[in-house]
């Protein structure tokens, strides 16, 4: 319908003025909700995401509980007003798939065997979508788990690498996702050096894929540092209040 915008300008910068390896402005906050056991707000540019954690808590119905570990239940959901065209509140196939890959990413990090017969519930709400909602959601979920005091092997930072106008770029936004050639979201747990989420929508050569992973790791490490600082800040604040 609309014309394809210039994704890489003549000066090598991106449509919004970023360098290829530059993240959008990122904001994060933990402990933002009253009811949840843990919560976090995360913003990657125009993408705004809230995550809440309830649990470990009892499973209903009980026969679903596992005798040797906690269940993880995870829902990635978009608010109807978060997208350009209103999104029906019923879960789409895309939301069902993303809930699964985010759950699996978190399963690889949470010490679920510490809480047999319980469930740890992770709810992610995308309030405004501008590209990278699953990766921002994963970051928020990880922070909310930490805020809830759920023991984990590591934090995970999510970030997407894209290929736009032939160039590999970090942390793509919606325009770059729509008009670019590839979108590769990853979730990276920096301290233990593990990729816990990895998808690719798009076409890459072998070399581009490997370079993309390198770029994503670099971006994730920056976000990971911010996450640590955010939790540290909260921890200090709590200490001060005590």
């Amino acid at each position: 319908m609309f014309e394809k915008p210039v994704l890489i300008r003549e000066d090598g910068l991106r449509h919004d003025g970023r360098r290829p390896d530059e993240l959008r402005p990122i904001k994060m906050e933990v402990g933002v909700l009253y009811n949840a056991d843990g919560s976090a707000y995360v913003e990657y540019g125009g993408t705004k995401v809230l995550a809440a954690v309830y649990g470990p808590r009892e499973v209903h119905p009980r026969h679903l509980a596992l005798p040797d570990r906690a269940l993880i239940r995870c829902r990635y959901h978009m608010a109807p007003f978060s997208t350009s065209d209103r999104k029906s509140p019923a879960p789409s196939r895309r939301e069902i798939e993303l809930s699964k890959v985010i759950r699996e990413a978190l399963e690889s990090l949470v010490f679920t065997d510490l809480y047999p017969r319980t469930t740890i519930d992770v709810f992610i709400e995308v309030l405004q979508a501008d590209g990278g909602t699953r990766t921002a959601g994963l970051t928020a979920a990880s922070l909310a788990l930490a805020d809830a005091g759920v023991p984990m092997r590591d934090l995970v930072a999510g970030v997407a690498v894209g290929k736009v106008g032939g160039v590999l770029v970090l942390d793509i936004d919606e325009v770059e996702d729509e008009f670019g050639e590839a979108d590769m979201p990853i979730g990276y747990a920096a301290s233990i050096d593990e990729i816990v989420l990895l998808q690719l929508n798009g076409v890459l050569t072998r070399e581009e894929f490997i370079e993309g992973i390198r770029l994503a790791k670099k971006g994730a490490e920056t976000i990971y540092k911010m996450m640590k600082e955010t939790l540290h800040r909260k921890y200090l604040k709590v200490l001060e209040e005590v």
């Binding site: 909700l33 009253y34 009811n35 705004k48 809440a52 608010a79 109807p80 978060s82 405004q128």
Partner: protein
């Protein structure tokens, strides 16, 4: 089928007694006076990608509303009007008792009460939303999104809806060819027309006491609750009684007078935000700090 709720958080008997004992002394458990609202914080344009948006904090309760405008067809019996659709989602993030799934009877009731309070006094100028008469109109989706539930969802949902509707801008129409309408959501034109502003005042009843703006803890011990919609001309524009006890007709008069008084207060809050839109336009990152 509506079923007696069985999954609500259990309030220990002793807590109930405490609440009641305090009431007999003229006190509420959070220290408020009987007719006092919790602190209200209201913000608009919190998700600028939506055509309109607002967020209201009522004590610990947080409700967001996003308004989206889409091109669609009018109701056959209302060819000269746009369509307003009010929806409420009680997402599981907001409370330990909520489950994922389609709206339950509580969410549906909340949406329908807000809907009626907007529809009956013709709060939104639906007649200005016609693109091609009888064929194409603007559909206004008012999505109420509960983010944190500490009681009195409807008053917060009504206020965030009213603010989001006031905040809404109609997207630009790029071209009309036959029935084919191209719009550009990135360009927003004139505001959605509002005829009259509405607030909702919810009052809880327990024993002989009348409590304005009950918290969740209070809601769980109330005999019944009554929500009264009030427009800026002090008219009653909607009522919903809920809860599992009756109300004496003689106390209704008292209730409506309190509601009208508190309605003035809420309209003042609403007016403050609407008159100072820039001051109350906040980003979510600022609000969540």
């Amino acid at each position: 089928m509506s079923i007696t709720p069985t999954k609500q958080p259990v309030i220990p008997r002793i807590k109930k007694e405490t609440i009641r004992k305090l009431l007999r002394r003229g006190e509420r458990i959070d220290g408020r006076r009987f007719e006092e609202y919790r602190p209200i914080k209201a913000y608009i344009n919190v998700v600028p990608k939506a055509e309109g948006s607002a967020l209201v904090r009522l004590g610990n309760t947080i409700v967001m509303t996003g308004v989206k405008l889409e091109v669609g067809t009018p109701f056959p019996d209302r060819p000269g009007e746009g369509v307003l659709q009010v929806n409420a989602e009680f997402v599981p993030l907001a409370s330990p008792t909520f489950e994922p799934g389609p709206p339950d009877e509580f969410a549906i009731e909340a949406a329908r009460v807000v809907d009626r309070c907007l529809r009956e006094p013709k709060a939104v100028k639906l007649d200005e939303l016609v693109i091609i008469p009888g064929k194409k109109v603007w559909l206004v989706f008012n999505d109420i999104y509960l983010l944190d539930h500490d009681g009195n969802i409807i008053d917060a949902g009504m206020m965030s809806s009213m603010l989001a509707l006031n905040n809404a801008r109609i997207p630009s129409i790029v071209s009309i060819e036959g029935d084919n309408i191209v719009i550009d959501k990135k360009v927003k034109e004139k505001p959605l027309g509002i005829n009259v502003n509405v607030v909702a005042v919810t009052i809880g009843l327990i024993d002989e006491y009348i409590l304005v703006d009950p918290t969740l803890e209070e809601e769980l011990v109330l005999d019944s609750k009554i929500t009264i919609g009030i427009d800026e001309n002090n008219r009653v524009v909607g009522i919903q009684k809920t809860g599992m006890r009756g109300i004496k007709p003689s106390t209704l008069e008292n209730i409506v007078d309190i509601a009208l008084k508190k309605g003035v207060e809420l309209h003042r809050v609403l007016g403050e935000v609407l008159n100072n839109p820039q001051q109350y336009s906040k980003t979510l990152a600022e609000i969540m700090k």
